[in-house]
């Protein structure tokens, strides 16, 4: 198993946390993992992305130039990262925010109304967890249980009261794809 993932969207959507949760969950399952954010000046108020590698073997490079999957949370990121996806790769995106459709037909696509579902749960900020659930349902890269266990490690203590909500959002995503 070797997954090279990019998560991308606006700063504040939980892009970096989504990647960290996957990396932490992978580590808990005994897999090799790496996580690296983009940290250029473009992050301030603009787009954010992170690269996650999860593998059953040693990770050579933590840098992802040719992702096997991408989780996309805004339109600029779709335009930027869709072309990089390997043929046959997986694109999971929030179709309730992004008003265009992917252009490639040599990839697998999962459109998730993540923002609308999160709104239904009462908190837009957990849209990332809906997408993460949909991604996990399709790929099985890590178990949902490991992600749930990682929530208390990755989220700062002042956010721990939101763990049940994050769990509900993840579960809502799991049943989509």
């Amino acid at each position: 198993m070797h997954e090279e993932l990019i998560v991308a969207g606006f700063g504040g959507q939980g892009v970096l946390v989504t990647g960290q949760l996957l990396a932490y969950a992978g580590m808990l399952e005994g897999k090799k993992v790496s996580w690296i954010p983009s940290y250029g000046p473009e992050m301030r108020g603009g787009t954010a992305n992170c690269s996650v590698v999860i593998s059953s073997g040693e990770i050579a490079s933590p840098l992802v130039n040719e992702p096997t999957s991408i989780i996309i949370m805004n339109k600029p990121s779709l335009r930027r990262f869709e072309p990089l996806l390997v043929p046959g790769g997986l694109l999971v995106y929030d179709c309730s925010i992004i008003d265009v459709t992917p252009e490639r037909n040599d990839i697998e696509t999962v459109a998730v109304e993540a923002n609308r579902i999160a709104d239904g749960l009462g908190e837009l900020k957990v849209a990332n967890m809906v997408l993460l659930g949909a991604y996990l349902a399709r790929t099985g890269v890590v178990s949902p249980e490991a992600v749930i266990e990682s929530l208390s490690k990755v989220l700062p203590p002042r956010r721990h009261h939101l763990i049940p909500l994050n769990k509900s959002a993840l579960e809502a995503g799991l049943v989509i794809s």
Binding site: V33, S34, W35, I36, Y39, G40, A60, S61, P62, L63
Partner: protein
């Protein structure tokens, strides 16, 4: 070893320093190393240490000089332009033979440059950096775990040799998270420091200085320093080899670039190309002997760096004309991709360079 935790390279570096007994940190903010002082400012007071944000890098580096004089385990971290400002003090510290640890989380230059990762401070780090005949001992870790291991050892090496040790990291290694383990129990070496200026009550006073106006004595000092560096070259060199046994082309790369190079070597092997990787871990002293030995077996070398060609000079010196040494570099914060390095490997193998 303790529980595995997922940590950023910069935070792991700071935690490792504290575990190694570092209790004093003096620094000044600069991207992409800010996680180090941020972490230190939170953690050091918890362990009875002192964190000072100085008014400048010049001041911070001289605070390091002062704390090192008193025999403290002390460190600073900065990034390229800030490290340049510290060169005067580093020359004094090396001249006065004091132990300290300096982390350079390298960014693109020259000048203010940018904030993205680079390896363009290699020559400054390994060839002295400031004025006079001296060297820092320089290590280029390639993973977050190695950052931890090297940082902890750096304080021991600094004490043992009475010499500054530099950890040459970069923006990728600093920002990247990987699982790390810290040793459960770690006892600092506690190497005696009878030379330290700790108050001369009951003993003759110690004088620490880098000033020596008598050229005969100053020459002797320089000779002693050179002997120390020679001893270090026998004791401190380290490197890692990957798939070099039958390699037609050996990529030579350190730090972040070595990670990319390893992926490129894997890709080459899958395509039936016999590629290998030689990863220097100590950059000064440079593992010249091991590289020269490898040159008797390997077909050709390809040095890959995030610079326009700095370490390649040491590679050429080590190989000493016995094999061709090629170079591929990206600069200014651009990182070579696996595809690019694989392409360069193929060019070397096919004789297209």
């Amino acid at each position: 070893m303790g529980e595995k935790v997922l940590m950023k390279g910069n935070e792991a570096l700071a935690e490792a320093a504290i575990r190694a007994g570092c209790r004093y940190f003096f620094g000044y903010p600069i991207t992409p190393q800010n996680e180090v002082p941020e972490y230190m400012s939170r953690r050091l007071p918890e362990v009875g240490g002192v964190f000072v944000q100085a008014e400048s890098e010049v001041a911070a580096s001289n605070m390091i000089y002062g704390a090192a004089c008193a025999g403290a385990r002390v460190m600073t971290s900065s990034s390229s332009p800030g490290i340049s400002l510290m060169q005067e003090a580093l020359s004094y510290i090396a001249g006065a033979e004091l132990p300290c640890v300096v982390a350079n989380i390298v960014r693109g230059g020259p000048g203010l440059g940018g904030i993205q990762p680079a390896q363009s401070d290699y020559l400054q780090a390994t060839k002295g950096g400031g004025h006079g005949d001296y060297h820092l001992f320089v290590f280029g870790p390639g993973s977050v775990q190695e950052i931890v291991d090297i940082t902890m050892e750096a304080f021991e090496i600094a004490d043992r040799y009475r010499n500054p040790v530099m950890i040459l990291s970069d923006g990728v290694l600093g920002q990247m998270m990987e699982p790390v383990e810290f040793p459960d129990h770690y006892e600092p070496g506690n190497i005696p420091k009878p030379w330290a200026t700790t108050g001369a009550k009951g003993r003759p006073r110690n004088i620490i200085t880098s000033l020596e106006l008598d050229p005969v004595k100053l020459e002797q000092h320089n000779i002693a320093l050179a002997e120390k560096y020679k001893k270090a070259s026998q004791e401190l060199t380290r490197h890692e080899e990957y798939m070099t046994e039958d390699a037609d082309v050996v990529v030579v790369a350190y730090g972040t670039t070595a990670r990319v190079a390893r992926a490129a070597v894997d890709r080459a092997r899958k395509a039936g190309v016999k590629a290998g990787l030689f990863r220097p871990i100590s950059l000064y002293p440079f593992p010249s002997g091991a590289l020269f030995d490898l040159a008797t077996r390997a077909g050709a070398f390809l040095t890959v760096e995030m610079s326009m060609g700095q370490m390649v000079e040491d590679v050429r010196l080590a190989v000493n004309g016995t094999r061709p040494v090629h170079f591929y570099g990206r600069a200014g914060g651009m990182i070579p991709t696996t595809r690019e390095v694989y392409g360069e490997i193929c060019k070397v193998v096919e004789g297209r360079v």
